[in-house]
Symmetry: D2
Subunit: 257 residues, 4 copies
């Protein structure tokens, strides 16, 4: 039984610091590295790749919309060929830093509004997959486990890509297998023990209990954890420990996919 | 006898158009492609690589300072590690578009203020060479023929890089082997026949006559031509023709370096 | 009988040139000046205000989304308070250049996707009006004549703003009083004589013939003309002349609103 | 006896947080508000003006170079007319937010590399003064007390501007009346009691002891304090208290200049 823990990293920009990358990295196995569009800058990328190398974790590109002011969290109506070009560009930038330090790039996980919109929007998903496949078809492409997983897997496979599906142990799920909106009360679960137990059940049984008490089968390959909230280090560390102590091997997705 | 003709390409940005890329490309052999910092955007890069492929010319990265408003022509006092990261990032971005279209990246030529400053500033030159070498040491690194060529070649070789030296047939040279400042009258030569003859002498004999009438040995591997001025297409076309008709083979630098 | 002719101006950015401002300005009466978000930069704004002063035409702010790469033409899902802040900022910037040259700012007309979205989206329209009113409630606020004019006028008036309504003589109108999508054939009318006659009828009778032959009452205060297309100068000049020769006084909207 | 305490505020950008504005504001009298070029964004500016209003402190524009990635701390070789336009633009943007909340703008203090370079560079200082005077000649213009104060005052007065001179209680001064470079040991004084006593002497006697023990007459109108370092709130609070308890009235510069 194996699972990956992925976390967004390298979101600082110039003098602007975000996240606790150095403290969180020892507890995760895959870092999604911001590529300069919604966050991150070349100096930050270089340092984040170096930190990942030091912590012997895998790295992936975390491309977003060109919206630094909105941190890539706002929908932008871009043409598919624009999205393909933006994603290609950002993956390439990360690959250069990885090459410079002798590290492979393991995966690509879109960020924020681009990620959310793509799960539900086939042409957008295709635009992203086209970029990933054109740069390097051996990159693992990360998408949301649950409702749209099957449809998106078909799209990715049409481009020759292998997908990894992720789940969010600290987020409430609707009975439809979708993340509950952050605007609703209870959508983010904060108790470390509860989150760790959800992570364990996700990893071991592939299941999560939805907001109405029903059970969802989501079978994730990787669990997304957060590194920029108060208590993040404690939470991530506890998730990792609970998984390890209960027979789940926490390793980069590239080791088993 | 062989020479390369290089020209800046892909300098448009979104709705902002610069240059006559499609008309100029058939007459050059190496395109220096802007990488999104001083000019260019991902969509423009994708199209420029496609155009280069169609015209069967070689491509190179043309990294600049992060100064879109100043077109990378203004000096910025960046730390060497910032410059290394900026150049790494931009080369990586171009390599992704090249990979997507099955084209190799042939060379790297810094842009504008970064180029000019680096010729005279050893730590800056080292910062750029460090980036190029770390991403791909087989990339040809383009610098100015003349005064600082020997010093810069030593720096590049210390990083395992092969340099190409360029000359400017439409620019006046001081007796020291430096380009005369654009602020001085006569620094830009506009008569096509004169420019073509200078190009021919540069290519065949490796020589150029300086502003005081003295003769300089500059032995260029590549001649830089411009694609964004009135009459650019005529001028570039005439240079190419004059070279070809006089026994100089016009081919990408990668074919003979 | 009076009408204003408004045109987007000052859309260049650094070395990137857009439009034929100097040639078009003598033929229009109100310049919508880009404010640095979707186009324009501080140097361009300064020059555009100076050009407008020289041509004795009125100026207005032309605020857009923070999307230089997309020229403000892509929808961005911004929160109302973000839009209010963006518009406030951009109006303020223009007011400073106007103050420096002793010119009043006459009007505000949002740009591109912000303009289009706001016509149909009351909260967005309110967010923009809130900004305009908070900076200077004497600024005329420009919106689309036709379908949504009444609703939008009510919103503007609730903020104490006076609106000007504009029509597009070179664009086809649907029977609902909406501009036909540019994606459809015939949506942009190119024959100068036809466009000039439409402008005349808009100005004199307040009417335009829709795509189905029906007649729409739109009663515009200002006609929007374009300065960045081939033939723009000829077209704008002919519109102005046709209006003048047929008893319509072409003057800035501030002179009669 | 009166003195002003000024501090940089509103340096956050989108999701990127910098500084402890809310905790520091109650202890200062003048806020230098970032205007979106080196830091700050429209939403942050709106909030910062609101915070200043709530705390009844004065506000000023804090314009910088267009270098968000470098936080405006890197020298950029801009033409004087570029600098004039950049400063005009940024002051205008702040004035709009101030107008919207019924607050006057009290002063202008350039940021970072622009500030430092301008103290020693007369054409640059003139370019900035030209902008300030053109927008509103009643704005107080803040410069460095000490070595270049007299020369800069002459420049400002030629533009009809009144200057305020500032000193840095937590920075070491060379015998020439210049701030010791941050690269040298001891250049930043961290002991709150020492800093507070230096502030008191600066305010009461107009003097500071230089690194060689000599006494400098600098006669500042305002003391610059920092709000983004660990212990900032304690330090600023202690400076304010020490001044107040020793007969120095801490009020905005506009109240006595």
């Amino acid at each position: 039984m194996k699972i990956d823990l992925n976390c967004d990293m390298g979101e600082s920009f110039g003098a602007f610091r975000i996240g606790m990358d150095e403290a969180v990295m020892p507890h995760i196995t895959s870092a999604n590295i911001a590529c300069g569009f919604h966050a991150g800058d070349p100096v930050v990328m270089e340092k984040t790749v170096a930190n990942a190398k030091k912590n012997r974790i895998a790295i992936g590109a975390h491309p977003g919309y060109p919206d630094l002011m909105g941190f890539g969290r706002r929908n932008m109506v871009c043409a598919p060929e624009e999205v393909t070009a933006y994603v290609t560009y950002q993956i390439g930038a990360l690959k250069a830093f990885a090459a410079a330090q002798g590290l492979p790039v393991q995966h690509v996980k879109p960020h924020g509004a681009l990620y959310n919109a793509a799960q539900m929007d086939a042409p957008l998903m295709e635009a992203i997959c086209r970029a990933v496949a054109s740069v390097d078809a051996s990159l693992i492409f990360v998408g949301l486990a649950g409702k749209w997983a099957e449809r998106n897997q078909a799209i990715a496979e049409a481009f020759g890509l292998h997908m990894a599906f992720e789940a969010f142990p600290d987020r409430a799920y609707t009975p439809e297998g979708v993340l509950q909106s952050r605007k609703e009360a209870g959508s983010v679960i904060k108790d470390p023990e509860t989150v760790a137990q959800r992570a364990l059940r996700m990893a071991r049984e592939g299941k999560v209990v939805a907001t109405d008490g029903s059970e969802l089968s989501i079978s994730p390959d990787t669990l997304c954890v957060h590194g920029d909230t108060p208590g993040a280090v404690t939470l991530v560390s506890q998730i990792h420990q609970t998984l390890s102590e209960n027979g789940v091997e926490v390793v980069p997705m590239g080791a088993f996919l």
